[in-house]
């Protein structure tokens, strides 16, 4: 275990190996590949939020000399047959297909209806006017209340609510119900001296990655077709496209370009299958790009939510019961992160009696996708707001209140397992002694604090390390580098091999040059792919010992290898890694290490954030004046990029809490589909984001790593919400805390 261990490279702040290309503009992202003979695809999108397609007529387009190919839902070869093959994935695959191209019904504003390929992007866009669509416009369902109301229009006639006590008998917009419980919730509330019960809601928000979705595709009949795209998981793009197009995995090669942000939003397919169809039909390479408006209207934002929270505590601060009813918007197709929302909502607390009920609700908005700790920010926002209000009610400091009830090793979670060693208490103690928490609160400023929990995952990673005759090497991995992970891989391999990180070049290989890797997500890359890198490096160490033994004519057991040098234990001889590589020709050929793992033992990551907000009482305008993010990293391989994850997550959460939201007209038209009116935080909106790394090692990882990517977006919602509530002296129940909403509260108070 890593605790007492001294490291040479781990924990250093090295220069990332892909840095030079990224600061000089040489790095190639999703929209940066052009090929000879390439043509452009464009998509016709629904102007309505909810409508039946009475007629879809492409004949005028077909007749146009400008149009080289047309694609519609009809071009998914027997999606149903393909879906059959995939058994339980059937529904999911059908939904994916129907999201990529509307199937007789459009379910949200911007839903793709058809696509055209032409010689230029402008020509393709212009040619969309040649497609004739007759819509029968239906009433849109735009929020949870409308969706669950008795007379709500039904989006999917065949959808029945799963998970009810009694099996559902008629179609509903509620796709699923989940129930989790622990102890006796009624007895818990009966034992409470004080009870807080409140309702909260959060808006639809977008990951807001700066790079729009884009792809360049070449269909190939006599070999694998090539798909170039920015994705968090090129192996899953391959699998999805193969299922949709009824192809074998070997018939598709996906090259992961550099990726301009994802945060969970680049874990599925939108353009790739369409471009493949257009390329197949036209016999040309096809490039497609989403406009920023398309990205907002038709990619996968995060669920809007409604939560009801009830918490009871004794005057001594002991929480006796916590109860939640959570509704999540899934968008046009089922599958919101309601499940993880239910599982995480109360996990920061060690409480006897818990009850959580969750609902997955479809509405006429784009199908949601993962967004950093999917489901957790919405539910934990509600829980943390209520916890802060309860602490205030019984006159307890929010940190002391949390320490008294904090989840720790052995805490029985509501979703079943007992927690292993976790860092919540350590984070709370760090917050307690932080300069920020001990600084006085300035005038007109409110201070809020909140905790956050996320599981993190492990999963499949495959890595090959090749050493060159001069001792330099290549790390071939298959996890798209979305935030500097190449640097961490380099450092972990260098630590094991005892060489300079810069002597090992990490490559994110395409689907043909390395075995399957799970998507970069779930905060898994530095943990799981890092574990594979370590195993592959250890594989190499064993070979280096054997080669050195061969040189010295001793057994491998007589060879020790430390800090890049082999020592003959039965003599004075030494050989460096480079020397062993140089003589590899003599000792059996060149040296490669390999690991294919399905990593277990991912360590949950807890965080605590502190936020100071100033409010202009005459206008309701908010200003974040100080912010501190504290999180358990297990072990920070590259502290700068760990801090970066804390800071980036914190600022996305601040945006979610203050100004970000999808604005829809009553007809379901998105009115702010651009960065002008979908207001993500700017450099000038923010103070320094102080990042404090706590390290409570994860015993399952060779260096103690826990994932750090996701947890950081959870605490800001309630930290900001509470800070605003404190500043205006009014409870906050709805995000975002936009000025009109805050001013209304202020005026109502007078």
């Amino acid at each position: 275990m890593s605790e007492a261990r001294e490291f040479k490279h781990i924990g250093q702040r090295t220069i990332r190996p892909d840095g030079f290309d990224k600061v000089t503009g040489k790095a190639n992202y999703g929209a940066d590949l052009s090929l000879p003979g390439m043509i452009w695809g464009a998509i016709l999108r629904s102007p309505h939020a909810h409508a039946n397609i009475k007629k879809l007529d492409v004949s005028r387009a077909q007749a146009s000399p400008d149009v080289l190919a047309i694609a519609t839902f009809e071009d998914f070869p027997s999606v149903n047959a393909a879906a059959q093959r995939n058994g339980s994935q059937r529904k999911d695959l059908m939904d994916t297909a129907c999201n990529i191209f509307a199937n007789q019904k459009v379910l949200y504003h911007g839903h793709a209806v058809a696509a055209i390929a032409a010689r230029s992007q402008a020509a393709a866009i212009a040619a969309l006017d040649l497609i004739d669509v007759d819509y029968e416009v239906l009433t849109p369902v735009l929020n949870i209340n409308d969706a669950i109301s008795a007379d709500a229009p039904i989006l999917h006639e065949t959808m029945m609510t799963q998970g009810l006590a009694e099996p559902a008998t008629e179609a509903s917009n509620v796709s699923a119900r989940m129930e989790l419980k622990k102890g006796d919730i009624e007895a818990g509330f009966a034992a409470a001296d004080v009870i807080v019960e409140r309702a909260y809601d959060t808006p639809t928000v977008h990951q807001g990655y700066i790079e729009p979705h884009a792809t360049t595709v070449v269909f190939n009949d006599n070999g694998p077709s090539m798909i170039w795209c920015p994705t968090q998981g090129h192996f899953d793009v391959r699998a999805r496209v193969a299922q949709l197009m009824n192809l074998e995995l070997g018939q598709i090669k996906v090259v992961a370009s550099e990726i301009g942000g994802g945060f969970g939003g680049k874990t599925t397919v939108y353009l790739e299958p369409v471009a493949l169809i257009l390329s197949k039909k036209s016999g040309r390479p096809v490039k497609m790009e989403m406009s920023r408006g398309d990205v907002f209207r038709a990619s996968g934002p995060a669920s809007a939510s409604q939560s009801r929270i009830k918490i009871g505590a004794k005057m001594d601060g002991t929480i006796t019961a916590m109860q939640a009813t959570l509704h999540y918007e899934a968008g046009a197709f089922q599958g919101s992160p309601m499940g993880p929302g239910c599982m995480t909502v109360f996990t920061p607390y060690d409480v006897e009696n818990l009850y959580v009920e969750g609902f997955d609700v479809v509405v006429n908005k784009p199908k949601v996708a993962a967004y950093r700790a999917p489901g957790a920010p919405q539910s934990e926002f509600a829980a943390e707001m209520a916890v802060n209000e309860l602490a205030k009610k019984i006159g307890m400091d929010p940190i002391e209140f949390r320490l008294k009830n904090a989840a720790k090793e052995g805490t029985q979670t509501i979703y079943g397992p007992k927690l292993k060693v976790v860092g919540l208490v350590a984070c709370l103690e760090a917050a307690k002694s932080s300069p920020h928490y001990n600084a006085p609160i300035p005038e007109n400023v409110g201070r809020g604090l909140a905790a956050g929990f996320w599981f993190n995952i492990g999963g499949q990673s495959s890595v090959i390390i090749n050493l060159n005759p001069d001792g330099t090497g290549t790390i071939i991995e298959g996890s798209p580098d979305i935030g500097g992970s190449r640097a961490s891989m380099q450092m972990m391999a260098a630590e094991i091999l005892g060489v300079a990180p810069s002597s090992l070049n990490p490559i994110v290989a395409d689907t043909e040059h390395v075995a399957y890797n799970q998507t970069t997500g779930g905060s898994r890359t530095t943990f799981a792919t890092g574990m594979a890198v370590v195993e592959a490096a250890e594989d190499i160490v064993e070979q280096l010992k054997a080669r050195a033994a061969a040189m010295w004519n001793v057994t491998a057991e007589q060879v020790d290898f430390t800090d890049g040098v082999a020592h003959n234990l039965s003599g004075e001889d030494q050989l460096t890694l480079a020397e062993i590589c140089a003589s590899a020709e003599k000792t059996g050929g060149q040296i490669s290490g390999r690991a294919n793992i399905n990593a277990r033992g991912a360590g949950p990551s807890f965080a605590v954030h502190i936020c100071d907000i100033k409010v202009d009482k005459e206008t309701g305008k908010t200003d974040v004046v100080r912010y501190t993010a504290i999180q358990d990293a297990g072990k920070a391989i590259h502290p700068s990029y760990v801090e970066g994850q804390f800071q980036g997550g914190a600022v996305q959460g601040i945006g979610w809490a203050l100004n970000e939201e999808y604005v829809y007209s009553k007809d379901g038209i998105m009115e702010n589909a651009g960065f002008l009116d979908y207001r993500i935080p700017l450099a000038s909106d923010l103070p320094e984001i102080e990042a404090i790394i706590v390290e409570v090692p994860n015993s399952f990882h060779p260096f103690g790593v826990r994932g750090v990517g996701e947890t950081g977006i959870i605490p800001p919602l309630a930290a900001v919400g509470t800070a605003v509530a404190e500043a205006i002296g009014q409870p906050i129940s709805s995000l975002p805390c936009s000025p009109p909403k805050i001013l209304k509260l202020l005026m109502a108070a007078h």
């Binding site: 993880p340 489901g375 007992k418």
Partner: protein
Amino acid sequence: MALVCFNASLEKHAGCAHLTVAAQNYRALLEELTQRLPQLTQEVLTPLALVIDGEIVQEPFLADFSADAELHFIEKIAAG
């Protein structure tokens, strides 16, 4: 005997909150559970992750566990 704990949603199928099993690996566990609790079908269980003494195993096919292990089935965790 290992202890299997069902969450509220699974309890509906299982008809009980806890159950001790003789199985000491995932495949034997599936067999035993589906035999003893007919409502608890392969379709219900196989999409789930297995938690062994607090460790979430997303792909438990080859997993084994000790005779005194505590086991839970949970939704596989999605990724952001």
